[in-house]
Every structure is written in C-alpha cells, then in structure tokens.
Amino acid sequence: MSNRTIKRIMLAIIVFNVTLMSLAVWGLAQGATESAAGGGLTDAGMKTIGAGLAFLGGAVGTGMAQSRIIAAVLGAVAEDPGQLGFGIFLIAFPETMLILGFVMSFILKG
C-alpha cells in the first residue's frame, strides 16, 4: 500500500465528513431563517438547533476517535501492509456515531 493510496483514502473520509457537516449547517441555517421570519425562537427553530447539536456531537466524537485510530492504523500498515483492510474497518467504525447523530437530527426535525 503506497502513501499515495493512503492519502486518497484519508481524503475520501474527510470529504464524506465535510459533506455531512455542510448538510447539518445548511439545515441549521434554514431553521434560523424561519425563526427570524416568525419574529422569535419558535418550536421549529429549537428543534433545528437540537438537531444541529445532535449531529455536531456525533461529528466531534467521530473526529476525536478517528484522529487516534488513523494514526494507529497508519503505524500498523507501515509495519504490515496486510493490515490495511482491517485498518479501514477500524477507521470507519466511529462513523456509526456520526450516523446516529445524523439519524437523531432527522428524528428531531420530524
């Protein structure tokens, strides 16, 4: 496994996370616009902020876990390239937190 391939995999993961994050920010901005138009913080606005926070928590947690896992996986792959498959699984594993946050934000938005 070359360094270039590893960099590509890392880039794909970053792009995926940024896309999800952008979606959440977009949702939050929409909710805020709606509540501003209504002249105060409405239930819908509160729900949107809650949804954003639920997603944000998952994203931050995933980022913290992945930063350490990626470093460890890079170390393992440097010593034994055969560990790449299992390494990618380990890198992807914390994404479940992000997905849970994403699902929770949908539930909150109704």
């Binding site: 350490r68 460890a72 170390g75």
Partner: protein, 360 residues
Amino acid sequence: MSYEYLNTRLRYMKKKMLGPEQFRSYLGMHELDELITVLAETDYAEELEKSSVEFSGYEMIENALIQHVQRLFSKLYRMSFDDAKMLTRVLLERFEVFNLKTILRGFHVGNDPEDTGHSLFPTILYPTAFYQELLKREGISSVVDYLLTVGNRYYKPLSEALPEYETSKKLALLESALDSYYFGGSRKTLQAVGDENAKNVRKIIGMETDILNMVYALRLIESEVSSEEKYRYILQGGERLGDAEVRDLLSSSDKPTFTRKVADSYYGNKLGDLAENITANDLQEKLENFLYQQNCHFDPGSTFDIHMTSSYIWRKNVEVTNLRVIASGIWRRAPQEDVISRLIWIEGMMPEMEAVKGAA
C-alpha cells in the same frame, strides 16, 4: 503524528523480539553455526546475511548484532516526532555516555583497544566510525582533543576535568564529569518538555542517578576515603535519594553502617537482604539488575505515552547483550555457569534461571 502511530509500530517491533523459549534453546547450543542457523530465522536474518559477506563465526554474529541494533534504534528515532524525539534522544544518549566512559576506562587501565571495542554498545547518535577513531587515539588527552576536533559536546566537561585527572590519575573525575554533564543536560531538556512523558523519563534517569551515587559511595567507603573531596562527585537529580541522603551514605564510617542506611531507603525494600560486607561490585550488579527489571517492565500497556519506547530500548539492550554473551560463550567454549552468571535475567524475556541451571 502522535504516540498512537509510534506505539503501534513499536508493538509490531516488540512482537519480533526473542522470547524465553528461544533463549533457552540458544543456551543449550555448543556450536556457533547452530546459533547462526536459528538466528537466521528471526528478525536478525537481514543483518546476518549482510554480515556473512564480510565475516564468519563470532565476528559475523557480533557485526550482525551491532547492525541490527543500529537499524532498529535508527528506525525508532526516525519514527519519533517533536517531544517524543527529544525524549528518545535522552534515552538513547545514555549508551553514548556508557561508550565514552568505557573508552576512557580502557585507556586508563591500559586495555587493548580491540577488547575495549568489544565492550561498546551499538549506538546511533554517534557513528561507529567515531568510536573506532577514538579507540585509535594514544591516550585520554588525545581522546579529549579528538572530541574537540569533531565538535562533540562532551569535550567541554572532559577538558575541564582533564588537568586534575592528569595530576591525580583519578578516573572518577572524568566519569563524574561525563555523568554530571549528561544527567544535568537531560534534566534541562526534560524540564523544557515538562509534560507527563518527560516526568516518566526523568524517573528513569533519576533512578540511574541514585544507583551511580550509591555505588560511588560504597566504593569510597571501601577505599576508606575520608576527605571532603568525596562530596564533590555526587550526582544531582536523584529520584529517591536527594543530595542530603547521598551525603549521609557517604559519611558512613563502615560497610555495615552503609548497608543499614541503604536497607532503610526505598532501595532496601527492592533489593532484599544485603550482606553487611557487600562489595561495591556486588552492590552494583544487584542495583543494575533492579534497574533492568524496572525499566524493561516500564510499560503499563498505555498507547498514548513514552513508556513503550523506553521499555523497548531497554529490552533490546538486554536482548542484544544476552545474545553477545551466549555467542561469545560458545565461541570461547566457556563453561555454562560462567555464561549463565553473565546474562541479564529479565522476567518474561528470559527463561527461569533455576530451570536453565538445572538443565545444565
């Protein structure tokens, strides 16, 4: 990069180290060829193959071991980063100081430089050629001059202590100057880093300082030195024994008083019963064995700190030293009891000593 990266790689490197069963089988061997054949199936294969082009027999193993340590320590040093690199350097520099002291001692007692060369530990911070050049010098002052020529930092403490050494011929002056410079410099580096990892490395360095101070104190008691001069060579920065405690040890009137004081200290519990008339050499052996046990097991399994790097360096040191002892024992046809007594017995790395003795 982070400790997770470094420590994951170290786990792989640690897995390739030799275990108790391998050492047990090596201890039963009578021919160097047997040892070379089995070592060629381990992580030493690469170096043995390279070494076989130029050398044979014991020289081949010796050269392969040197290259092996240099490859792994260079790799470890390259893998380290930022603060971890500074801490690794402090840990590795200990071997450079050990080598410089060995060379000075060799010249002091008029040893054959080739024999002194065999006692050096393979290192990476200074190249092998550097030590070869030092061994070619005519004497200690010439060694110090060479250090100045190549811009080695240990020139400074040695050149300061040299005039006094030349009049008194006390090797302790030079050894103490080197130790003080290394331990003092290391403490400054560790203070600058200042985090938990630096504190852990400081513990290791501090414990070694205590051990040097205790052995030094007993040597002076053995030589019945009573002048105030003896307090000059106390190394600062001990982990368990501060300046006052070391002074108290040095002021002991005789060996029984000294051993009682040591027994009451932290090290008394760790060393077990000490004979009242223990020699400095025996005490040094006991303390060094304790230091090896501590530092080889200085790894609570945490992935996020310097413990693993430190224990790896010490374990590799023990592994290579023991292989050298075994290979040299086979080569010289030394009795197995001699080989067994010269090995470093670390629990988990080496087989049970009693079992090996019984089999012998």
